[in-house]
């Protein structure tokens, strides 16, 4: 039952994303809370890839369900991001929050660049370079710092967060 709480957290995060998406006009971009959560699960489930895969796929499917048709790209990207975070956590220490924030920022930035390129080549996205740069960087920064919120939410709902 405890593991189901991870899915509950994903549901809360997707509701937050959809409901507060209009606040983008103040923030100029919006944090990818679902991706931050997947990366955090990558840090937690280093040796339990099965759960990581399930959670990453669930996040991708939930996110795809509320988007305006991105063709499933996020499902694969979320899965790869989770696995990459898990790989990094195996290689270096992610005990310090600054390291975790930095890694989340980098992975989200890479995701945004890939998504922009997918939209550019397959859907004729005409966003200018500066718009792209601003949105990608801000999304990465916001997502990285949203890790505080997501970790707090995890700690509140799942008492022993360290499932390694």
């Amino acid at each position: 039952m405890k593991k189901l709480r991870y899915f509950l957290i994903l549901l809360i995060l997707i509701l937050l994303e959809v409901s507060f998406g209009s606040w983008r006009k103040f923030l100029f971009a919006f944090p990818d809370l679902m991706l931050s959560a997947v990366i955090m699960y990558g840090f937690i489930f280093i040796f339990r890839k099965g759960w990581l895969i399930l959670l990453a796929l669930a996040s991708g499917i939930l996110k795809e369900a509320v988007l305006a048709g991105t063709g499933g790209a996020r499902i694969i990207l979320y899965l790869l991001s989770g696995l990459f975070a898990s790989y990094i956590a195996k290689k270096i220490s992610v005990e310090h929050i600054a390291v975790r924030i930095f890694i989340v920022g980098l992975i989200v930035l890479a995701n945004e660049i890939i998504l922009y390129l997918i939209n550019y080549f397959f859907k004729g996205n005409q966003a200018g370079f500066f718009y792209f740069a601003r949105v990608s960087l801000l999304t990465a920064v916001y997502s990285a710092f949203s890790l505080f919120l997501i970790e707090k939410l995890n700690k509140y709902l799942i008492k022993d967060i360290d499932a390694r």
């Binding site: 959809v18 983008r24 895969i53 005409q126």
Partner: protein, 257 residues
């Protein structure tokens, strides 16, 4: 309990299988999932409104005062308009013109926004149950908002006019020249495929041309703010400010027929 501590080949196989399954069921999963989000989103929307009301209390107060002042001015204008309507009806009868048909619309409320930086879409609280179909045009009191792209039983997804995937056949109201409106993700739209000779200036109003079956003729899209020569020198394009405030959408009208 699920345990995947196996060889890498099995793991890769499972990953691929899950990927394929996820991609397959994603479509079937979307509709019930979106429907189940409706009620929590409505509650969150109400909470959000209250928070907004508290934050912008002073702004709302000043705006309210201004609106009271405007109301007294507009009351006089309504009387003038009534006279004009009566005169218009009389002239229409004289010219034996058919009365312009009105659209059959459904009002709906925005309950969520697509959390994606590369697309512009909103989720509304009306769906198949209320007669909405994929492709229905969405407007508000200011002008064109977008088009319905996905319908579930009680919710729908609306692609906004500033999404790069949108294309609307448009017309400059003053000169009657035609072009194509497309989104650019930012707060402005682009009126493309204009000739060098096209008569367009800043301030011109852009309306739907009615050339395609999808968008009825005459819906206001926005106002031209700037006219720019294309780098190739072959033509021009105009930058258009949308009439509808696409960032702050709350109530929408869906044109059913």
């Amino acid at each position: 309990m699920i345990n995947f501590r196996n060889k890498s080949i099995i793991r890769t196989g499972i990953i691929s299988l899950f990927c394929a399954l996820a991609l397959l069921i994603s479509g079937a999963f979307r509709q019930p999932f979106l429907d189940s989000l409706r009620n929590p989103l409505i509650v969150l929307e109400l909470a959000k409104r209250e928070i907004k009301a508290l934050i912008f209390f002073h702004h709302n107060y000043v705006e309210n005062q201004q609106m009271h002042r405007d109301l007294s001015v507009l009351s006089g204008k309504v009387q003038e308009a009534k006279e004009c309507i009566i005169e218009n009806v009389r002239l229409r009868n004289l010219l034996s013109l058919k009365e312009r048909s009105t659209y059959l619309t459904v009002a709906s409320r925005v309950i969520g926004r697509s959390p994606d930086n590369w697309h512009c879409a909103v989720i509304i609280d009306k769906g198949k149950k209320h007669g909405i179909k994929r492709g229905n045009v969405v407007i508000n009191t200011d002008g064109l908002v977008g088009r319905v792209i996905e319908v579930t039983y009680i919710t729908s997804k609306v692609l906004l006019v500033n999404d790069p995937e949108m294309g609307v056949s448009a017309m400059i109201q003053r000169s009657r020249h035609e072009g194509l409106i497309s989104g650019s993700l930012s707060a402005t739209l682009m009126l493309k495929y204009l000739n060098k000779e096209t008569d367009v200036i800043a301030g011109d109003e852009i309306i739907t041309s009615g050339l395609t079956e999808v968008y009825p003729k005459g819906i206001l899209i926005g106002k031209v703010t700037e006219v720019v020569d294309e780098p190739t020198g072959m033509g021009r394009f105009a930058i258009v400010k949308p009439a509808a405030n696409l960032e702050g959408l709350e109530e929408l009208l869906i044109i059913l027929s």
